[in-house]
Subunit: 324 residues, 2 copies
């Protein structure tokens, strides 16, 4: 079967319990029967996955959240994250999903996988559901420094990604800034905007402010990893406080027991959750790497696997090769 | 009366209609009878305010949203924003509220008012309502560059402000970063954190990530104006999309007509709105300057005036003088 794929899953190294990761992946494999799963983790915890006939790669160590990056890279013993990335680099799996530490995933990916030509650094990209249509934002935290050359590359990556995964023919690319007029914000962003507007293969539409992200004015939002991570996590935090207010008000109104009110609250919660907790991808590398939220559940794992599947089927790394 | 005050209101220069600004201020003055209002704006639009016995300073020009900052500063004719700030600097009013352009308000404030000693630049600070308690974040966009010396000053300003306005005895101060461990984020933030932890008069509690802002782990969140503005506006955007989902689900569930469901949605909306649309303050200056959201309504104007009143009564500039 041409479109069948094998996705590796890191079962260690995050606040998500291994059992939840395994359940999410098993549920996913039952629905997406064109996908095989390769579980990477501790032998005793993977028996259930083996019983279901899935591949298991035993690897006792995880990347510790508290380990230094130098430690992660120099580690003699192999972590589940590193082993998974190596399986990806040798082609034994077609994509890799991890809930582990973002900085470690970034560092190890760069160590194990080659970068695609014309790109210096990977970026983290994620789909958000706007009012009318989706949009993609990058970088969400792979890099902490703002450089013009990287921003220009992220624009290229993001545009190619939106076309490959989102079937957007000529993605409208914008640059996140703290004002929409050309004179606003730091000089580096004004210079980047000027360069982007002269880039022939990009459909650059100007600056966007973070309160307009969901309004549908652009398909791809480019920013540095620090600002992008702040935006992503602010959206998460606001989402959680919205849940809190909804629950509080339902309680105050005595609607806790009302099935209809509960179901409305649940629907809103799920829509808001999808904004925050679905997987994000590390792109610019020659391989499909999906970073799931560190505090997720089986639903989030399923969403991350689905994203990996879409990227594999859309052949994202090939689309991002600028010399294609 | 010792605590009576006179607050100037800029009625021009934003997307908020002048009539809405005037209504909000008149409503406020009816409730807070210890406050006189001085309206700054066009003569024909201020007749109603005059009829109610309020002071009116006629001034036909507004700072245009599209004017360059150099233009704003050099302008021969005086804008309502500049006239208001001059009234503040001469002590004719005790505080000033404007819905106008943030960058213009920042530039004109620095031109017209003196900075308090030990502070190089004003910062924008705002109160957010967390799950259990409020917190304050600064800078939200007065400055677009990240400098260690400014961040250290913002920490001092924010801590003094939370004590003056929020009665927090020993405010827990944190630094916004994209990870909570000491090794995370850009070098400048790690250096700033190191300096803050050695500052005797501050209660520095470390890094905070944007998804934890509402969790109550700190009273004051310090960040550069770019990141702070991205966080603020991301919270606004997420809030608006939460409204959208609530409305959509109520509609789908056929609950539009249910009074109870509508009232719950309305309560949630108001709580969420308060996060985004209440006023923010420009601090570090010798004067109370409140920046209301550019797209607000009479409720938002009332909230901004209330904030100015609190700052005047708490004598914020005096508290921020480090040589007090």
């Amino acid at each position: 079967m041409a479109d069948s794929c094998n996705i590796g899953v890191d079962t260690l190294g995050s606040e998500t319990p291994t059992s939840e990761i395994i359940h999410g992946a098993l549920d996913f494999a039952q629905i997406q029967t064109d996908c095989a799963i390769t579980f990477v983790g501790r032998k005793d915890e993977l028996q259930q996955a083996k019983d279901f006939g899935h591949s298991v790669v035993v690897c006792p160590d995880s990347v510790s959240h508290y380990e230094s990056l130098v430690g992660v890279l120099r580690h003699n013993r192999s972590s589940s994250m590193k082993v998974g990335l190596e399986l990806l680099s040798t082609g034994e799996i077609d994509g890799f999903v991890s809930t582990g530490d973002t900085a470690a995933l970034m560092a190890l990916s760069r160590q194990v996988l080659p970068m695609l030509p014309s790109f210096d650094r990977p970026a983290i990209i994620k789909r958000f559901d706007g009012r009318q249509q989706p949009y993609w934002m990058l970088d969400l935290g792979a890099n902490v420094v703002r450089k013009k050359s990287w921003l220009l590359q992220f624009a290229q990556m993001g545009s190619a990604y939106a076309t490959a995964v989102g079937s957007v023919a000529r993605p409208r690319v914008s640059l996140l800034n703290i004002g929409s007029e050309a004179r606003k914000g730091p000089q580096i962003l004004r210079e980047t905007a000027s360069d982007l507007s002269k880039t022939a293969n990009l459909n650059f539409v100007g600056f966007v402010e973070a309160d307009r992200l969901f309004d549908g004015s652009s398909d791809v939002v480019v920013t540095d990893g620090f600002s992008g991570n702040v935006a992503l996590k602010s959206i998460e935090g606001a989402t959680r406080i919205a849940h809190h207010f909804i629950d509080q008000e339902l309680h105050t109104a005595g609607l806790n027991e009302s099935e209809v009110a509960r179901s409305v609250a649940q629907e809103v919660r799920e829509k808001l959750n999808a904004q925050a907790y679905n997987g994000a991808s590390l792109i610019g590398l020659n391989g499909v790497v999906v970073k799931s939220h560190g505090r997720t559940d089986r639903i989030g794992i399923g969403a991350a696997l689905q994203l990996a599947r879409e990227e594999i089927q859309a052949r994202v790394p090939e689309h991002l090769r600028r010399d294609r």
